[in-house]
Symmetry: C2
Subunit: 270 residues, 2 copies
Amino acid sequence: MRFVTRLETAWSTNDSLVCIGLDPEPARFPAPLRDRPLAIFEFNKAIIDATYDLVAAYKPQFAHYAAEGAEDQLERTIAYIRERAPRVLVILDSKRGDIGSTAERYAREAFDRYGADAVTINPYLGFDSVQPFLERTDRGVIVLCRTSNPGARDFQDLQVDGRRLYQVVADKVAADWNRQGNCMLVVGATYPDELGDIRARVGDLPLLVPGVGAQGGDVAQAVSRGRTANGTGLLISSSRAVLYASGGPDFAAAARTAAADLHSSINRQR
Amino acid sequence: MRFVTRLETAWSTNDSLVCIGLDPEPARFPAPLRDRPLAIFEFNKAIIDATYDLVAAYKPQFAHYAAEGAEDQLERTIAYIRERAPRVLVILDSKRGDIGSTAERYAREAFDRYGADAVTINPYLGFDSVQPFLERTDRGVIVLCRTSNPGARDFQDLQVDGRRLYQVVADKVAADWNRQGNCMLVVGATYPDELGDIRARVGDLPLLVPGVGAQGGDVAQAVSRGRTANGTGLLISSSRAVLYASGGPDFAAAARTAAADLHSSINRQR
């Protein structure tokens, strides 16, 4: 099945554009959970059980597993999402970027080892660093464009012959890299003007929008500036504001409330 | 100990600017080794035993371990380098780049979990994505500048107000990010003009130069254009041309010959 079809299915399954970032931080888990051998997986499982009927996607953030030596728990988490919510997408947020021969290995890691539906990619190394991912037309390739962080300004906003660098990236992806229809762009909700600008440049190309919640991006602005004509075109991702809505034993229920609020806030604006 | 001191020690230990990239590809291992449970570690161990007195650094390429689910063998490999050659540097080539709060996790992964001396970093997300690494002043932060691959031209060569993007990155690292003296730049040997240009811009800032060997970069050009006045300033990295100099049971001896040839070729030009 082509990636775009899987994405449309994911949007419609729960009438949702919500993506929950699975960024486990054991120090923020409730005390009895924190010390268990599979604490990360058990935390994620509780979050998934509490939210799987509200979301279009889950986005495990690779660094949070790598720093803990918990690749096995990342594998278990993805397998659990498959079992619990087979129509919900799994995005491996690992921001890969390397020369072509190495990129082939990263594509195998994301799509075969972890079985992710999509992976985030850094464009700095250019086309051959992305090609091995693009060739997997049933999987999504989500290219960093205008990120949500303060440092995004350092290089992404530089003026390049009348365009900003992030605009050059957006145009390149829309015109060249998306020939199989399996690309998306990362555009931070923290910069709504740039989000609207990118939507105007790239037609219906879908956008992954982090930065709502803990990073302070405005949901209503993100939806109104980023949606396509049919009220989709976006995955709006929140991590910490959902995962750590409560630090107590009610964390899963609190996560559901936060995810349901995000779902409603988004759908009011679509 | 400051990173620059560790780098100078590494250069002088074996009078060498050689870096060997540890990019294990089990399909290219000799047949009896290929099927062993710790094949990757055993292959690396044989390469290290055969070359540790010729090199300044080893550079394990993360994707080759991640694609195989072999993080444990990466840990063992690094521990073995520590034991066999404590003055030789370990560079984790994982090209990390993410927002500040996530970059902290990647710094823990590279420097605490794996105990690497240095890590490669993608600059596209700007300062806050690099800061958690820079704060570890005993460790090296090796920023992608002008990479060795064909796609390097796509974005890195764009004209930005009279400079190319890779020049903007080089200048930013030299002027701002290197205040603790723990930065390096990645500059591919496949583009000798750009290598010379970068050396002229950044003073004595050390460069990691991949792209000799299988990628076709010329060693003599890399040394003559990239060295500093005292004949150092470089780590010149070869992976496949050393690791797979022979695909037979003599692979380790063949790797030693290839590494010794590279060591001599470099030192003739210093």
